[in-house]
Symmetry: C2
Subunit: 550 residues, 2 copies
Amino acid sequence: MNNNNWWRWGKPKEAQDLQDYPKLITYLEKLWNTKLKNDFQIPSTFSIPSALFSNENFTSTFPKLELKQFSNLNKDRLKYAIARSYHDIIKVFKNSIHNYPDFILFPESEEDVAYILKVCNEQDIKLITYSGGSNVTGATDRDEKYNKVAVLNITRMKSLIAIDEESMTATFQAGIYGPELEKILNKKAYTLGHFPQSFEFSTLGGWIATRSAGQESGLYGKIEDMVLGLKVICPNGKIEHQDFPRHASGIDFHSLFIGSEGTLGVITSAKMKIAKLPTSYQWVVSVFKNFQSGTKAIKEMVQGGIHASIVRLSDSDETKMLSLMSNSKKTYIKALLEKMVKYNLKKNGYTKPCILMMRFAIKHESDKGQIATSKSICKKNGGKMMPANVSSTWEEKRFALPYLRDTMVEHRILIDTFETITYWKNLDNLYQGVRKALTEKSDYFDKNGLLFCHISHAYETGASLYFTLIAQQEKNQEIEQWQRNKNIVSNAITKLGGAISHHHGVGADHQQWYLQKLSPNAQSLLLAIKKELDPKNILNPGKLFDGTRK
Amino acid sequence: MNNNNWWRWGKPKEAQDLQDYPKLITYLEKLWNTKLKNDFQIPSTFSIPSALFSNENFTSTFPKLELKQFSNLNKDRLKYAIARSYHDIIKVFKNSIHNYPDFILFPESEEDVAYILKVCNEQDIKLITYSGGSNVTGATDRDEKYNKVAVLNITRMKSLIAIDEESMTATFQAGIYGPELEKILNKKAYTLGHFPQSFEFSTLGGWIATRSAGQESGLYGKIEDMVLGLKVICPNGKIEHQDFPRHASGIDFHSLFIGSEGTLGVITSAKMKIAKLPTSYQWVVSVFKNFQSGTKAIKEMVQGGIHASIVRLSDSDETKMLSLMSNSKKTYIKALLEKMVKYNLKKNGYTKPCILMMRFAIKHESDKGQIATSKSICKKNGGKMMPANVSSTWEEKRFALPYLRDTMVEHRILIDTFETITYWKNLDNLYQGVRKALTEKSDYFDKNGLLFCHISHAYETGASLYFTLIAQQEKNQEIEQWQRNKNIVSNAITKLGGAISHHHGVGADHQQWYLQKLSPNAQSLLLAIKKELDPKNILNPGKLFDGTRK
């Protein structure tokens, strides 16, 4: 590989350096009693097994496709072997990738997809549908037990198919990336309103297949609230069902494919509900004495019909981390620390402040009433109002945090995230329980590992919890260390009634916990659906549920 | 039968008499040049085939059940042979019921349901799950081609299982009727917010199985927006999946059973999202010069985030009908005609006025901003504001219209309804198209049949259309007349891109149009799911899709 940056998140020029965060560095070095050095490097070469599938094989197997729709180059097989979890990146650094795909196909139309599925079904070639490749769940890993595995990269299918401004719907091919999709809609003063952190490097089809939820779900809803209709190609043919704004005409097929993670069919296009762009935004920022009172304020707002588009409550440990990052050139949150000092927060009993940032989208004058109500709910729950501009840098950098992860790994820092959801009644139990499990079942905190958490999606009935773990890497045990923490936290989440994922998905990494929550009959039903749509189990085999059983 | 009123809607003391609507009578008699007489009567006896399933059969087949959980009485077999469509009622009057169920079972627990399904599966007894029996789609009809058909009445299963006020969820057994459910929730200042016109005589399980939407869907959502979790018993066992407020943990099983109309499993309980009762309500009433400008106002509101809980726009023919009903003792809308005169509507160009009634639920002071915005949107679209109390009687009588249907049938009047949904862009086309189809394909209007329409459910992307047909019955051709109109309107709706149902469901009556919209692969998928969950096709056979194929 000539390019040493192929494994990094996003655009090379946006790459970050931990050294630009001096306060954070100082804090971590003192905590861990070490000097953080940028000395972890990716291998100079990877031992990629030679390509089993030659250009000639391609031409004879897929005579209707062109050579430009194929790659068996090692650089591509390496690139598509990973996605973007900490686990993926560590596998790169440790030269532990074992599951290279054999080749990559680039369909350019729905017809291409149908043709590829037909051929692959006949010849038992497994297909991993791949678009942005930004997943953090092993969702696009090759399962090693299968032969002849190809990646189906759908990102050449990225057209707007139709827009109906009167009905506020737009139909796109599934391989379109977030920014391109928004650019098309923004030109006409519309938005889809779906902004996951991966927004810049993930696609419409990926969002649907993984049951994504974006940062502005409070206003625009989650992906399942936006899908009106899907075109799905399965190995045994096309699944179609006329779409309506709503109906009482039997079972809703589309919902079967939302969250199906490439195991049942290939989503080739989607008709989506779109929204008008707001005329302006307004931030409301408040600091709470503890996570519980901030949580209570959010609950009161969403249960009272107050819907900020963005809601983000950080616990005190995350707020502290944001403070440590706030005096950098590449700041994530504007001089939070100074504001906290200025506002005498400590003196006033806010010794472990938790910051709540909310963004309201203004469409009508009457929306401003919501903002006034939100402020009074914050105050009622002990929230101290802060200047709204504290949030302005977070807004600019809202998609940028994954860049920081890369430089942390190079500094031999473990950084992993876990996200879950539960009902309000169980939220504090789950929040406390994860920390408790790490305390009881590991030496994570003895070694001064950091754990922090935020709520970023709130509903009438419950909220998500997004945990971040930051610790020193255990040299030569990096993968084992990751798996150990993964198991402890995921077991705790599952035992304490949380979903194994609120918005990342299941993939390979969460499969065992996902299956624990399904009764045997539910698993049989899944397999029956799989068998009907993909009888030879060619689609993302081994993922989500194990399609080989029965 | 001793009781001649068993076929009527609702409570006997609420029964209506058309004679209480003198203006309406006068209008119809003049229009049809006839004297309307209450001379259509149900037969004095019905020729019900003798019960094949005796008490002894019951005891030996279901040894674990008690005799009070069984009926093979003719009066019950007659009662459960019909639901509440015009077609059902006409079948009673014409003595044309051919499909009496053999017996009725009354499970009292989830265990009873599981036991009954197990036994029926072994002995090939078909089961029609029945709760309120208020459907208007033939959804609980016995399909004549099957032997040994029992009705499974689940209305003894009507308990509150759990309520979690902090998370705003409540879990009920599925057989609970609307008023009982609301009474339990209202006591704690909550509501489910689901108020279909059948509210008083339909159940939670029925709402879910038929994909119901209530009159206040604008605020509380449709049934699918409220379901968090379901318990479903299938012939091959229980389907369970842990519920969460939202998740990205694979395929959402619950959604498969929403709209499954008793064909896949028996819903025994449901965990529902509940809402706080509003502190007050406010009506906004406006009159438009035509249906199109009223439609435009509604579209602008819902697309601009203005969400009335009730939205009801009547076209000019329906508004006229409401006026004719408005001076009765049992008025449906308060002296609308007088108000129209008083406001000089005709002089000001409102020669064919269309009334829009909207009810806003107030929870916060800030909600009042929505009302001001809604009024300005009405005015902008030519709406003339009317006193809000015009709506107050409609509100009282919101569940009462089906009573009027019964007395109309006795007066030899055909009254049938059709409801559909489409995208905004296609709404006027569909609205006009139904009238056009009746004009071109029948003598409906030549015989002075009436057709009117309202919108009662509006979404960002589209709206429902609810058509009512009122005509003179064709003596001795009542059923054929019904079927002829049904075919013309349903064909038109389907051809013009409307759903065959927005909220009534598919049942037996809409099956042919439902299947037209499914590709062969989609139908195969449905059958595969059916085969997995109900391999012997014992659940509501012949309904929704035809489980006998393949």
